[in-house]
């Protein structure tokens, strides 16, 4: 077992090294895309902690992302309110970065509080309640428009204090180009690259945090709750404490992801966090593998790229008789949703373990004895 743990740590640092070097080889556009992958990765870790490991179904994590995103948006754009915590005033530079932990904290607290009523709901009813929360959250936002900007939302592209790169015009050739983002004395060439580093640094840190948290007693307790609440409770586990904690931590992660999403898109409105976001997060967790951690990267990649790039490829799969009903528009927003839905159903039928399950199967191919997929050695 010890050998595996050391291997895990080595792999982690290797992966971190790859992540840090990658932008050298990527175009600016791709860097932004991978930044989004990191954002989803963080959200998925949070959701999996609650659903895959503690067994509490949440169809409403988009709402926690909403809380995080709007917290960041409101704190950044409200220039009159100085950003202040325990008497320490934060400078207006890089104000947006300071809002990230605050957004996560607020989302985490609300998640923790939601954990209390959630104690009385189990399985299906919890799924129902969280589903309703996710659908109702944008309606709340619209209603309290004095704070949240209502339907149009908050656009903070121009707000002072947002970390950004300036565009400068070359005096000789009159080309405009990005001057880069200055941070801690270094200059990162483009906004997208800075976004990439911000998101992935946080993703790696939070991933390590989750991994450490789940390795020990805490993780075992959560898994025990998932496997049988009755048995866990009989063994002395305080269900209330652990379930609410799981909700809180999970919401914290989602809040940070939402905050990063807001920073990435520089605006928020009620449609930034629709019910489909919550659903896609669930898809990501299933694709990555319920109860796993690092395979969630696959889930994050899947969610993001399926929405953008692969929708066009669905076209060739649709049979010819379907046009009888109406004209098919494969560029319509519907295509990714169908792909998601079908993939979700197929995975649950064929590969319930998701990517993590596949990884496990591959790993056990090399094993001998009873390890190999539970069957005798071959």
């Amino acid at each position: 077992m010890r050998g595996r743990r050391e291997l895990g740590i080595v792999l982690f640092f290797a992966a971190a090294a790859v992540v840090f070097v990658l932008p050298r080889f990527l175009s600016d556009f791709r860097a932004q895309q991978f930044a989004y992958v990191a954002i989803y990765f963080i959200a998925l870790i949070g959701l999996n902690l609650l659903t895959g490991i503690t067994g509490q179904i949440s169809l409403g994590h988009g709402a926690f992302m909403l809380i995080g995103g709007y917290t960041t948006a409101i704190l950044i754009s409200d220039q009159e309110v100085p950003l202040e915590l325990f008497g320490h005033q934060f400078s207006n530079d890089m104000r947006d970065i300071w809002t990230i932990p605050l957004a996560g904290l607020l989302a985490g607290i609300i998640g923790f509080l939601f954990g209390f009523p959630a104690l009385r709901l189990s399985g299906l009813y919890l799924a129902l309640a969280t589903f309703a929360v996710a659908v109702a959250a944008p309606a709340f936002v619209r209603r309290f428009d004095a704070l949240t900007g209502g339907g149009p939302g908050i656009n903070f592209f121009d707000v002072e204090g947002r970390t950004r790169s300036e565009t400068i015009t070359d005096p000789l050739t009159f080309e405009t180009k990005e001057a880069g983002v200055d941070i801690l004395g270094l200059t990162i060439p483009t906004f997208n690259e800075w976004l990439y580093y911000l998101c992935w640094t946080l993703a790696l840190v939070l991933f390590a945090g989750a991994w450490l948290l789940l390795r020990g007693r805490f993780g075992r307790t959560l898994r025990a709750i998932r496997d049988s609440e009755l048995a866990a409770s009989s063994a002395g586990v305080n269900l209330a404490r652990y379930k609410t904690l799981a909700f809180g931590i999970s919401a914290f992660y989602a809040g940070i992801a939402g905050s990063l999403l807001a920073i990435a898109t520089t605006f928020v409105n009620p449609d930034t966090f629709p019910i489909t976001l919550s659903i896609y997060l669930l898809v990501g967790v299933v694709v990555g593998g319920l109860g796993s951690l690092w395979p969630l990267v696959f889930g994050a990649v899947f969610i993001h790229f399926m929405q953008i790039e692969w929708a066009q490829r669905v076209e060739s799969v649709i049979p010819d008789f379907v046009p009888i009903i109406g004209a098919i528009d494969t560029d319509a927003p519907g295509a990714p949703a169908v792909a998601f839905g079908v993939v979700l159903i197929l995975i649950m039928l064929l590969f319930p373990g998701g990517a993590a399950g596949l990884v496990r199967s591959v790993r056990s191919l090399g094993a001998r004895g009873y390890d190999r997929l539970g069957r005798r050695s071959g």
């Binding site: 659903t51 067994g55 179904i57 169809l59 009523p117 009385r120 709901l121 399985g123 299906l124 009813y125 799924a127 129902l128 309640a129 589903f131 309703a132 929360v133 659908v135 109702a136 309606a139 709340f140 619209r142 209603r143 009755l230 019910i275 489909t276 659903i279 669930l282 898809v283 299933v286 319920l290 649709i318 379907v322 009903i325 109406g326 004209a327 098919i328 528009d329 494969t330 319509a332 927003p333 519907g334 295509a335 990714p336 949703a337 169908v338 792909a339 998601f340 839905g341 079908v342 979700l344 159903i345 649950m348 039928l349 319930p352």
Partner: protein, 294 residues
């Protein structure tokens, strides 16, 4: 006072729609123990079928209505056999994920096939008003209520007096004993899903003239239907209907008399209903409280 009655009647009209969808949810939950998150999307999809028949193929309303119901039945039946039956015995999470997958699939398919444009949907009831004293009663609302009540009555008669209905009730109550007596439980459950899909189609076709046809039209109605089913008792068909009507009227009255709520917070009010009922009396009004022996 006349305003009050007007709100009540309008509330009964929309409440009937919630009742129909709620009844579908209750039917499926009673039979298979599943909360079908895709009920709304299935209803929306079948409503599009009706729209296509009427608009693209020139059918008149009631024949299209009937054919759509038949299509919905086949759809529900098929969905159960292909998607739900294989995972019926798995964990709750698995089944929830399956129905979520259906949500995505149907929503996406509707967008793909018919595009996300908002369309008008024909209504069999004239867009006119009866006047009773000071109160204006929309014929659409009365017609909607009438259709749903007739349908509920037919369904009740079906369950009460036919052999298949008896088989359905038996399968929901005790699948193993039913098998021993010779009831083909698998088929019964699938028929239950088919009937539920029909109810959903009715809800969709009655709602579409008012909320207009687009792929997302049933999402809010689904939440209201959940609230109605939970309020009435998730295992009680009578509760679903009563809950739907109460919710429809209640939401209208709250929206009219409490400015704070207005039109924006109707959905959160429904959410509140769901949360409060689940926390205070999970069985709802007509459900039987479940006690677990530990």
């Amino acid at each position: 006072m006349s305003d009050f009655f007007q709100q009540v009647v309008a509330g009964l009209g929309s409440g009937a729609i919630y009742a129909s969808l709620a009844l579908a949810l209750v039917l499926i939950h009673r039979a298979t123990g599943v909360i079908n998150f895709a009920q709304g999307e299935m209803a929306m999809f079948t409503t599009y079928i009706c729209w296509t028949l009427v608009t693209n193929h020139g059918w008149s309303y009631w024949p299209a209505f009937a054919v759509t119901l038949a299509f919905a039945f086949v759809l529900g039946f098929g969905i159960h056999r292909v998607v739900i039956h294989p995972v019926e015995r798995s964990s709750v999470l698995t089944v929830v994920i399956m129905t979520i997958g259906l949500v995505l699939t149907f929503n996406g398919l509707a967008s793909l096939i018919w595009s996300a444009e908002i369309r008008a949907f024909p209504s069999p009831f004239p867009n006119e008003i009866w006047r009773v004293g000071d109160v204006a009663i929309s014929q659409q609302d009365v017609g909607t209520l009438g259709v749903v009540l007739v349908l509920v009555g037919l369904l009740w008669a079906f369950f009460q007096y036919t052999k298949i209905g008896l088989g359905l009730r038996a399968s929901a109550l005790n699948p193993d004993a039913s098998r021993l007596v010779g009831v083909r439980v698998g088929w019964m459950l699938a028929i239950g899903w088919g009937l539920a899909a029909m109810l959903g189609a009715v809800a969709g076709m009655l709602a579409a003239p008012t909320v207009f046809l687009d792929p997302n039209m049933m999402q809010a109605i689904l939440i209201y239907a959940f609230a109605a089913a939970v309020l009435g008792g998730i295992d009680s068909p009578l509760g679903a209907v009563v809950g739907g009507l109460i919710l429809g009227v209640g939401l209208n009255l709250i929206g009219a008399y409490f400015d704070f709520v207005g039109a924006d917070l109707r959905l959160p009010v429904a959410l509140l209903v769901i949360l409060v009922v689940l926390l205070v009396r999970p069985a709802g009004i007509f459900g039987t409280p479940v006690t677990r022996r530990v």
